[in-house]
């Protein structure tokens, strides 16, 4: 992962204000001459806590109001995720609730420098589904494992990169040909092997594999390009 310049605009609400600006100055009235800031209208009022903030509040003060707010956003989406994977509605809701209980219990291990709230909650739900519905263990890394080969020191703070990765992935997937983006989504939303996906769609296994490979190569190009591109606003 390359070094990411500090000057790029982010579209997250809490990043829309420029350095030194107060948060209520963001909407429509950028005081600096930077034209790109005028487009960065936050989706929510800036006094509202971000999902990252809510997780941190749970971790630090066991804040149940923060949990309720996270629940109302994520639990209905987790239920949809589980339904998409072929689980019935009642069981999907049950596992979504269990995943949210895990979010509460594990909030201390959330690190916004490593992943966004949505990504971290996705991994919790993914593991909960493997455990409860597939009845398998999920082998995970142990950060305290003496055998773990640590990251290079300059990779420690990935917070800016984390935000950009999700943004650029979203647009990169949208730019893929439909036959490719569909197979990438299938990797997340269908619990099937490549052969099962091929049989179900009536296309050869080799075609499934080559489409996935092509799609991943394109996504990788977008992401790695994003990493190394100095960006239009740097001087």
């Amino acid at each position: 992962m390359g070094v990411v310049p500090q000057t790029l605009d982010l579209s997250a609400p809490n990043a829309a204000a420029g350095p030194g600006q107060v948060s209520d100055a963001t909407v429509g009235t950028p005081s600096s001459g930077n034209p790109s800031q005028a487009r960065q209208e936050p989706e929510a009022p800036t006094d509202q806590r971000s999902h990252d903030d809510l997780l941190d509040a749970i971790a630090s003060t066991r804040d149940k109001t923060a949990f309720a707010e996270l629940f109302s956003h994520f639990a209905p989406r987790l239920k949809s995720y589980l339904i998409r994977l072929g689980t019935d509605a009642a069981m999907s809701e049950e596992v979504a609730q269990e995943a949210m209980v895990m979010v509460w219990r594990k909030a201390e291990s959330f690190d916004r420098k490593q992943a966004s709230a949505a990504t971290w909650i996705f991994t919790i739900a993914r593991n909960k589904r493997i455990d409860r519905l597939r009845r398998e263990r999920r082998p995970e890394l142990d950060p305290n494992d003496p055998a773990l080969v640590p990251d290079a020191p300059d990779a420690a703070d990935r917070s800016i990169e984390v935000q950009q990765t999700e943004e650029s992935l979203r647009s990169a997937i949208e730019k893929l040909p439909q036959e490719q983006s569909e197979l990438i989504r299938a990797a997340y939303f269908e619990d099937k092997t490549h052969r099962e996906i091929a049989d179900q769609r009536g296309i050869p296994l080799g075609t499934v594999k080559s489409r996935i490979r092509l799609a991943l190569a394109r996504l990788r190009q977008e992401i790695d390009g994003f990493d190394t591109d100095p960006g239009p606003s740097s001087e």
Partner: protein, 222 residues
């Protein structure tokens, strides 16, 4: 130990691990490589971010009445089944060689395990993972020894944990993954300087092509 691998997992394997679509045995292999490979960890976190991005975009489903309060009522309960699993009982040599994701599936220290002889200089320890539908084994190959020639119907992925081996596709050291497919006969040879320990996951049945009767059962579970 600061050396990082040169032979990596392919993108589909990382995607499958990140999305949760990969089976348990293959996931153990991926997680073990990830423990040894910061580069593939970075790539995997990209695919996890893709999952987060898709979760954000999905159309929400209605929850039943009282879902929130039912969940809130469970927050302060403790669940004994979620206690972290024990990582004790291994000697230092084992902890150094086997990263945690694999260690969790191995019952004890390397020298205390019931290795089975698979011909000259080669020992195998079958490892049961999940329902056992995919064969997984630790292999211990003496310095300079050859793993008998075999081919398989499916795909064999071999991750080196200690020492190194070479075959006609290259040399593989700690953290490296070698993938052999059905159309490919191979006969890896361990480095002459030290023993080689590998973790192998094999999809599909094996078919032996070598002439040696004694080793025909290599990789085949008793």
């Amino acid at each position: 130990m600061t050396q990082t691998p040169g032979h990596h997992l392919n993108e589909e394997a990382l995607l499958g691990y990140a999305s949760g679509a990969l089976g348990e045995a293959e996931s153990v292999l991926v997680a073990t490589h990830l423990a040894l490979c910061p580069a593939c960890r970075g790539r995997t976190s990209t695919y996890e971010a893709m999952g987060g991005s898709m979760l954000s975009q999905i159309e929400p489903s209605n929850l039943s009445d009282g879902a929130l309060s039912a969940t809130m009522a469970r927050l302060d309960q403790t669940d004994p089944s979620e206690a972290p699993c024990d990582d004790g009982g291994f000697d230092n040599a084992t902890v150094t060689v086997l990263p945690r994701p694999l260690r969790d599936y191995v019952g004890g220290s390397l020298d205390s395990l019931p290795w089975k002889s698979r011909g000259r200089g080669v020992k195998e320890l079958p490892i049961r993972i999940g329902d056992g539908s995919v064969r997984a084994s630790l292999l211990r190959i003496g310095p300079g020894e050859t793993i008998p020639q075999h081919t398989h119907e499916g795909v064999e992925s071999t991750l080196v944990l200690k020492g190194a081996f070479s075959d006609e596709t290259g040399t593989y050291a700690r953290g490296d993954v070698a993938v052999a497919t059905a159309d490919h006969d191979h006969a890896p040879v361990a480095d002459s300087t030290e023993e080689c320990i590998c973790f192998a996951v094999i999809e599909g049945p094996l078919r032996f092509t070598g002439p040696i009767g004694r080793v025909l059962n290599l990789f085949v579970r008793p």
